[in-house]
Symmetry: C2
Subunit: 295 residues, 2 copies
Amino acid sequence: MSGPLFRRLCLIGAGLIGSSIARLARERGDIAGTVVAHTRKPETLARIRELGFADVVEEDAARAVEGADCVILCVPVGAYAGVMAQIAPHLAPGCILTDVGSTKGSVIRDLAPLLPPGVHLVPAHPMAGTEHSGPDAGFATLFEGRYTILTPLPGGDRAAQDKVAEFWRRAGSTVESMDAATHDKVVAIVSHLPHLIAFTICGTADDLAEETREAVLRFAASGFRDFTRIAASDVDMWRDIFLNNRDALLEMLARFTEDSHALARAVRWGQSDFIEDRIRRGRRIRRGLIERKQA
Amino acid sequence: MSGPLFRRLCLIGAGLIGSSIARLARERGDIAGTVVAHTRKPETLARIRELGFADVVEEDAARAVEGADCVILCVPVGAYAGVMAQIAPHLAPGCILTDVGSTKGSVIRDLAPLLPPGVHLVPAHPMAGTEHSGPDAGFATLFEGRYTILTPLPGGDRAAQDKVAEFWRRAGSTVESMDAATHDKVVAIVSHLPHLIAFTICGTADDLAEETREAVLRFAASGFRDFTRIAASDVDMWRDIFLNNRDALLEMLARFTEDSHALARAVRWGQSDFIEDRIRRGRRIRRGLIERKQA
């Protein structure tokens, strides 16, 4: 290896993902010469200084990106348009602009129109996370063994894409590429819809009559526990994901609702064969996951 | 302690739960003098003999219950009516008839009408299980630290209820009592609806176009993984649970569907406040579970 991948790496946002990247860059010498971290809230800026994982902590987004050869957006996807309006005029020619957002169509929609000539946009989504958020929650090994999906733009700069892919490989990720629309459909069903369902079922339980609700909390079996594990997540991040993957999410919810009504109808009318078939399909998919060592 | 709780304990069915009870009785001296196990399929009978966790392995259900002072039904709840027709004339006076089924209204519906005079019905539901099934899957500590819910009948024999409660306490369970209708509502939301949803979403994913489905299997993030963990369960058991807790399950699904539509509408129309409120409620329930050390 010949020196770090990036001379000056700028992180816009330093929550779970951003602070994990900073910690990773600090631990390994081959990622960035200098790590610059920007965040909006004064108390988070102070906390980042205390934690000491960035070389430069910058309260002004425009100044933060100046001179950086790579800028990674690590804020909730709903904040991208506002951030881009601030930083776009200050991005250096040749700079790589990438991100870690869970929706990719919206990212291209919000960033591409403001992209200065000579700046290379490479949208990325590391499929990693925990239930925790904020700069204290990050750790350098967060991305190890996880997938990172790149959704490069047609005709985008190949060298920039290779560099972003190499960055994620050094973080320990397996890198895959696909178009943004496919990405958004896949994450809608594997992640966004499960979260929407989990948030919903918690609310449904919370609305039950007092006596039943108390018993629900007491007897929450493993089924409901798994749901609530999913549901213990960052509010801003999930609001933005739902709003910015709206079309794929609503399509997957519509399909799921049709399917759940079909199963409910079979339960109502005692159609054992149909019910058994649905249960067997679930088991088959489960086996498929195990064979892929994902579960 | 003065001798075992039951002189002759008969298990009808020896899958995950039944074989765990047999192993537990064998490990502890204070549960049963003799353990009789009955199962319908010849290959399972042979396997039970090989595993050696029962003192008597009996292929005829009527003969199995003869002389037993406690009979525990450990078959899928859909089989109760058929089993009861076989065994009822052979239950000894003073015998305790109990079970381990996940639905309780249906159990009372199917067993109570055939109950001989002097036989005491004490419906029970140990909230324990794994993804595995069959006589090889059981283990003596399955019930440790789990809840067992009794749904005694109004006017039922108090001594029989105390004995069943004591049995589950010796198995390591915390015992609670409630009426069957409340039980069925609680398990509908904490367990049966989550399973129905999990089976459904696996099918929804399986129906996606080939390319997307392949990517779904590859990128299944933690959200979807938790769902498929739930979905990897015994077919007969879950078919019977859905069919025998139909009313409570359909009611909870209807409530859940209304709530998911409300959240979908908020996503469609960009109602951030509503979405944030739903996410916060999920987190609040999650905290409630953690405080109860259930998660």
